[in-house]
């Protein structure tokens, strides 16, 4: 059967002529400079200006005038749009329309790829290709254009959505014309992301690597621009320079990535426009503070299939919360006065665009804001409001004609005009035949009901038969085809009258009240027929769903928006902990029946019978108060990979750039008395990345967790991991592959750093006149950091096991002029404790780990005790999210293995790590003046029977056993409430998605990738 889709797009481009002056024409020229007028419409001239009964006059693809009284010229084609609406057509800033598909990266199994596979005078890194110019790659793709035109879009900003520095974008209309005509401008904006996309080069192998790569590239172009005598011609970097002043659009997606990208931008005085993913509400204050404009999608998560209670157990609390809150995002962003544009990107099924948008409006987004975000804002963000985004004189004649207000429940987009050309989406001239009719075929009368849409009517005939006293209703489907005024019907009543198909053709007359014509029965007999519309033709009920009044109330957002997230952040309190056993970690030792006063985040008094007005009294009787636990070696709360494994030296990357404030393990560790952690880079290369020192301020944003004004640290590593011993047969290329090679990596790195410093010193020392003409050295982030180590501004925490290599690194330090601050893991520290002491290194070890790889064969649990006895500052660390929450138990193993005193053993996880991290003047002991980072235990903290009652950071209670239990109950209630809502949504026909199991994303030292 030939399917006639008369309702879809009839493009009239051939009639309307071309304006490509520079092109050769085959056949007679077909110029058309007519005027087109659209009268009697409600016109939104711009998002804020609504005009009733207005006229829009266009010519040659531009707006000539718009107003209530527009003088129409003689050569005008007029469309009467009485009762209809005109809007400027919509603009999408995030699109790859008309650009070649980027080949997806294949799962690669093979040796590392250290260099770029892109041949030519381009950048060293395959993910940095700012030279990609969407304008020169763009070809019209009418199928894709049509999909967007149907949604009312007229213009998109298109770029190749691939790589870290992606290149520039082109602004194109969605008209089906020559590329030269649809392209409004090329090199409109410059695009970036943290995702290396199709690049198969190893570097960067992590999010922090991508961040470092962007920074380094910016320094590189700075160097290129400011130095005349640079020998290198780099097309990529030149393109970046050329496009430097364009709007910069950063595909950040995740809310924390927006903050990360903004930090990079700030460093180089570049304000990005961020493409988000719809979770901005979770960190709205921080996102507002970026001052960045946003491009936001309307892709809300589908309902989870929660029919099976056991399956529902698997849905995480945060996923449930986000499902409920996602539609509120746009409203929240708008209320916070953050400028934003809306994109249809990220929608797998573009058809839900308006459905979701309407849901966002029901959830607090004002219609005017929505329209602004689809017209004015996108145009404005890319400095194109002089051409698009409204219907003022001189702008492109890009507009849509709709049946109702754009966001009305029943609205239909009839036509989308782009550059003055008409694209019919739902023809308003189609006769709406819906209603109830009496259909008479050769005297036989049927009740016909026509439903469906105006363009796709669907008929139904009800036949009530009465057999043996039983009445039976049979529904017969009627196929209806409407073309202009012609109508055709097909149906098989299968009754006494006819047992086979009746086919009818005819005309629609008198405003669709009467149809009549001729038909043919299966016998071949010709018959007359007619249908008359019933009086009560509005048989269909108004299908407007009742507005949910409570939908405007934003459900509770938690910080972070996870289970155990706070409604509001804990605040410092004045607290007096009375009559408790205080493990001071100071000369006073363990004090019994003592009071500790906490004020303004500090410990202000320790003594007996303390009194403080207004203080919250905490009864510490029978309990123990210790300094909070500090984990010298942790990998929790990190996003996008813990290792940048791809090079032997990656000092340029920083864990501080990728702190994940949404890791549930932060809360779990608070529940184990941990107050601070060093988040370390992994151990897969000799020089890893910089560490982050954080306090576990659950609920805060990443930057607020960082400990301010403190020394910087960096991860080094030795042994099997850096020589890739256990990485399989392919990883035998990256230098080093032996301990011998590791030494050379260090010498090479530090000698380069020294030479680098010398080059800079010499450059800075030049007389100003000479310096102006001299080439400045190129800023190298990797060497900058190594220089900091040499200048004692950054300190090493070195993953280490065997004595040979430990000895080696100390030799390097001694000869290069630095001290290894901490050997972490250091399982053979006991063999070289005397040497470590002499060198001045501390040791942060495992209590009892061994036997997991060859190099830990001689690891002994007495290691901590021996190092301690030799006068080395000794700590126990976790390197493990699970162990991290019971480090007090691990400390007790120093008592078991080697007989360290209880008091000293507790210091292994409190004061000593504080010393190793240079925090001992603020943390690590209970002393007047220090930060109030303390833990109240039910028992001797070294006893396995001790549990945490309260964990206090800077005088604020971050964990409280009683409140934790309350929170569990609240979480369970909240989860149940949302699940009930999901069940209802599913009943109402929402699309569902299958449940996925929760996965633990845990990093260890040797975790490669995400």
């Amino acid at each position: 059967m030939k399917k006639i889709i008369f309702s879809l797009l009839v493009t009239l481009y051939s009639l309307l002529g071309n304006s490509q002056e520079t092109f050769m024409v085959n056949g007679p020229h077909n110029k058309n400079h007519n005027y087109y007028a659209f009268t009697n419409a409600t016109i939104y001239v711009d998002y804020a200006t609504k005009m009733e009964k207005g006229t829009l006059l266009i010519k040659d693809g531009k707006v000539i005038s718009v107003g209530k009284k527009v003088q129409l010229p003689a050569d005008v084609v007029t469309y009467d749009l009485k009762g209809k609406y005109i809007y400027p057509s919509l603009i999408d800033l995030y699109s790859n329309y008309g650009l070649p598909e980027v080949a997806k990266k294949k799962e690669r199994r093979g040796p590392p790829q250290l260099e770029s596979n892109k041949k030519g005078a381009f950048n060293w890194n395959e993910a940095i290709h700012p030279e990609i110019d969407a304008g020169s790659l763009f070809v019209v793709d009418d199928k894709k254009a049509e999909e967007l035109r149907k949604l009312g879009f007229g213009v998109v900003l298109t770029h190749q959505t691939d790589g870290i520095m992606r290149g520039s974008s082109a602004l194109v209309t969605l008209a089906n014309e020559k590329e030269n005509e649809v392209m409004i401008a090329d090199k409109v904006a410059n695009h970036l992301s943290f995702n290396k996309g199709s690049s198969t080069q190893d570097y960067p192998g992590s999010l922090m690597g991508a961040i470092a790569l962007i920074s380094q590239t910016y320094y590189d172009i700075d160097w290129l621009v400011n130095n005349n005598q640079v020998d290198e011609h780099n097309i990529s970097l030149n393109a970046l320079v050329e496009n430097w002043d364009l709007p910069q659009i950063f595909e950040a997606n995740d809310k924390l990535n927006i903050l990360r990208a903004d930090k990079v931008g700030d460093e180089f005085e570049k304000q990005y426009i961020f493409k988000g993913e719809g979770d901005e509400y979770q960190r709205i204050n921080e996102i507002k503070a970026t001052e960045g404009q946003l491009i936001l999608p309307v892709n809300f998560p589908d309902v989870y299939d929660v029919v099976d209670v056991y399956d529902a157990l698997n849905i995480s609390y945060s996923d449930l919360k986000h499902w409920e809150l996602a539609p509120y995002n746009l409203g929240i962003v708008a209320k916070n006065n953050i400028p934003f544009a809306i994109t249809a990107a990220d929608l797998k099924d573009k058809k839900v665009f308006f459905k979701n948008l309407k849901q966002a409006i029901k959830s607090g987004l004002l219609e005017e804001e929505a329209l602004k975000a689809l017209t004015y804002s996108p145009a404005q963000f890319i400095n194109q409001y002089d051409k698009i985004g409204s219907l003022e004189k001189g702008k492109l004649a890009n507009f849509i004609i709709t049946s109702y207000d754009l966001f009305h429940e029943k609205n239909i987009i009839h036509e989308n005009w782009i550059q003055g050309k008409q694209y019919i989406i739902n023809d308003y001239n189609v006769i709406d035949v819906r209603g109830k009719y009496s259909l008479n075929v050769k005297g036989k009368v049927y009740d016909l009901l026509v439903k469906g849409t105006a363009t796709e009517p669907k008929g139904n005939i009800q036949i009530i038969s009465n057999k043996e006293g039983k009445s039976d209703t049979i529904n017969i489907k009627v196929m209806i085809k409407v073309e202009g005024n012609n109508i055709a019907l097909n149906f098989n009543p299968n009754d006494d009258f006819q047992k086979s198909t009746i086919r009818l053709s005819g005309s629609i007359n008198h405003n669709a009240v009467i149809w009549d014509g001729n038909g043919q029965l299966a016998t071949g007999e010709w018959v007359k027929w007619a249908a008359i519309k019933g009086k009560n033709n509005s048989s269909e009920k108004e299908e407007t769903s009742p507005e949910e009044l409570d939908s405007l109330i934003v459900p509770k957002i938690q910080y972070p928006n996870l289970a155990y997230g706070y409604d509001s952040l804990p605040q410092p309190e004045t607290m007096l902990i009375k009559n408790t056993t205080v493990w001071t970690n100071e000369a006073e030792g363990v004090l019994k029946n003592t009071d500790v006063l906490i004020q303004d985040g500090k410990i202000t008094a320790i003594g007996n019978d303390l009194i403080a007005e207004g203080a919250k009294i905490i009864d510490g009787k029978g309990k123990h108060l210790s300094a909070g636990i500090i984990d010298e070696h942790s990998h929790i709360a990190i996003n996008g990979g813990v290792n940048e494994c791809t090079q032997a030296v990656t000092a340029e990357v920083s864990i501080g750039d990728v702190i994940n404030s949404d890791d549930i393990n932060i809360y779990r560790q608070l529940a184990g008395g941990v107050v601070a952690s060093q988040l370390l880079h992994g151990s897969c290369n000799p020089v890893g990345g910089q560490s982050a020192l954080i306090k576990l301020k659950w609920g805060s944003a990443p930057e607020e967790m960082k400990i301010k004004d403190t020394d910087g640290f960096i991860k080094f590593a030795l042994g099997e991991n850096v020589k890739q011993s256990n990485w399989g047969e392919f990883n035998t290329i990256r230098f080093p592959q032996t301990r011998m090679g590791v030494e050379q990596v260090y010498y090479d790195a530090f000698i380069r750093a020294k030479e680098y410093e010398k080059k800079w010193d010499e450059y800075v020392a030049l007389p100003e006149k000479e310096r102006v003409n001299a080439n400045a050295p190129r800023i190298d982030l990797e060497l900058e950091i190594l220089m900091e180590i040499l200048n004692k501004k950054r300190f090493i925490s070195c993953h280490s096991y065997q004595q040979s290599e430990i000895n080696m690194l100390m030799h390097i330090g001694d000869s290069m002029g630095f001290t290894v601050n901490t050997f972490t893991h250091i399982l053979e520290g006991y063999k070289v404790a005397d040497k470590m002491k002499k060198h001045g290194a501390g040791g942060s070890t495992f209590s009892d780990w061994w036997a997991y790889k060859f190099e830990v064969n001689d690891a002994i649990p007495y290691n901590g005790a021996i190092m301690h006895q030799q006068g080395i500052v000794t700590a126990f660390n976790s390197d493990d999210a699970e162990m991290g929450r019971r480090l007090n138990q691990e400390a007790a193993k120093a008592v078991k293995y080697g007989g360290v005193s209880e008091e000293e053993a507790l210091k292994f996880v409190t004061l000593n790590p504080a010393k190793l991290l240079h925090l001992e003047d603020k943390m690590g002991s209970i002393k007047v003046g220090k930060d109030a980072c303390v833990v109240l235990w039910t028992d001797n903290p070294l006893s396995i029977y001790a549990t945490v009652e309260k964990t206090i950071i800077d005088g604020a209670v971050y964990f409280d056993r009683v409140k934790d239990e309350q929170r569990q109950k609240e979480n369970a209630k909240e989860k149940a409430r949302i699940i009930e809502k999901m069940i209802n949504a599913k009943k109402e026909g929402s699309k569902t998605q299958p449940v996925e199991a929760q996965k633990q994303q845990l990093y260890h030292c040797d975790t490669v990738g995400e």
Partner: protein, 426 residues
């Protein structure tokens, strides 16, 4: 009258400090341990205990203050006032002796290739001289169920005692059970539902159907080693250990075992088992509970849930014990006592917690007739700790006996400790 020797720990352990820990000789002289606090492993405690054993078996377990003791019948008397006596701890579901160094493939003998290997036997690969085992028993863990891993049907485990010249010597109960890894409903790495669940279930069902039919007769046309190894599962000579953590997997496994007429089934892992205690009890399914020192599996769960699971299962009346499979499990076996300690910290009575690594384990492994608690007639497998052995702060094993044999509680690590301590003394 015999010469009474009242020995201190050091004298007793004169064999210590040998180069390599040597398996002890059979018990030939009777021993009486006096005045210690005996934790019997069955829930009871005797504050001032008199415990005696001869020829490897316990001959006396009494309150010293309530009975009259004839000291003359004992060759050796050990006074342990202020110290604690425990039955040897038992590590079920262990790969001790199968894996020496996790990262070195050549030292891994726990995971045979192929999906259905019930005939693969852990016992013959058990390295009685593993350096790890000596560090485990010096914390009080004296017996273990050596268990193969991997595939759908991993193989057959055996129970060993930890002081032996070779695997034959080590056997405590040979081929005690067959282990299967239940079909995952979700890929726990990606979170996605397992697309092959039905197919994998069918493979398992097909295998069991065939093995069950085969087991009905002893006269086979051709011998099938796999089916032969399954015989015990259907006639009750072997326990079927089903490794499964999540609720739907556990319930599916219980239905499966019932349908397959499995005589004795145990769930290993059993993270969600606390949610379905009635089903477990009705079907007489015991649980070997996964490592207590774990993170919760789900974001919103009680942050302490893994610590509280023992208490929850105990309150629900489920028969269960503790294991420590997972990352770094062989070396971590020595921390088994502390899992029980943590269970006690989070609500369980201390003696009940102790049962989870002694008598309950013995019952579940089917060796409780001869071990698992300090009761007259059972093996003299026990140790003396200077303090509470469930607390790392005080766990300090001075003396240990396996079947009455005084074992060497020294190890490679203690030797290195002494060696390097001496280095710094000079």
């Amino acid at each position: 009258m015999k010469n009474k020797i009242i020995l201190s720990f050091l004298l007793l352990s004169s064999g210590a400090y040998a180069q390599v820990e040597t398996p002890a000789k059979e018990q030939t002289k009777s021993v009486l341990i006096l005045n210690g606090t005996a934790h019997l492993g069955n829930g009871a405690v005797i504050k001032n205990a008199a415990i005696a054993f001869d020829k490897g078996k316990l001959t006396l377990v009494e309150d010293a203050s309530k009975i009259k003791i004839d000291f003359s019948v004992y060759d050796t008397i050990i006074r342990v006032e202020g110290k604690h006596i425990y039955p040897g701890f038992i590590a079920p579901n262990s790969t001790l002796g199968l894996v020496e160094i996790d990262a070195v493939r050549a030292t891994r003998d726990n995971d045979e290739t192929g999906g259905f290997n019930p005939n693969v036997r852990s016992i013959i690969a058990y390295n009685a001289e593993s350096k790890i085992t000596t560090t485990v028993r010096s914390n009080g863990v004296l017996l273990g169920q050596i268990t193969p891993r991997g595939g759908r049907v991993s193989g057959t485990s055996s129970i060993v005692q930890f002081d032996a010249w070779n695997w034959e010597d080590a056997i405590y109960k040979e081929d005690d059970g067959v282990h299967i890894n239940w079909v995952d409903m979700f890929d726990r790495r990606t979170g996605k539902a397992n697309e092959n669940y039905t197919q994998q279930m069918n493979e398992l069902i097909t295998f069991f159907n065939a093995a069950r039919a085969y087991s009905k007769t002893t006269h086979q046309q051709e011998k099938n080693l796999r089916f032969e190894a399954m015989r015990g599962v259907f006639d009750g000579n072997k326990t079927l250990y089903v490794h499964a953590d999540f609720i739907k997997e556990i319930t599916a496994a219980i239905h499966f075992a019932r349908k397959q007429e499995v005589k004795k089934m145990v769930i290993v892992g059993g993270y969600d088992a606390w949610m379905i205690p009635e089903m477990l009890k009705e079907n007489k399914v015991a649980v070997i509970l996964k490592r207590v020192h774990s993170l919760p599996e789900r974001q919103e769960e009680d942050v302490y849930l893994p610590y509280k699971l023992p208490h929850l299962l105990f309150d629900a009346g489920v028969l269960f014990c503790l294991e420590n499979a997972g990352d770094m499990e062989t070396m971590g076996t020595r921390n088994l006592p502390f899992y029980a300690g943590t269970a006690a910290a989070y609500g369980l009575d201390k003696e009940e917690a102790l049962k989870l690594i002694t008598l309950n384990t013995a019952i579940i492994l089917g060796i409780d007739n001869s071990t698992g608690s300090l009761e007259k007639g059972k093996d003299a497998t026990l140790f003396i700790s200077t303090g509470d052995a469930l607390d790392m702060k005080t766990n300090n094993v001075e003396t240990a006996f396996i079947q009455g044999r005084l074992i060497d509680v020294d190890n490679h690590q203690k030797k290195l400790y002494r060696k390097y301590s001496k280095k710094y003394e000079n």
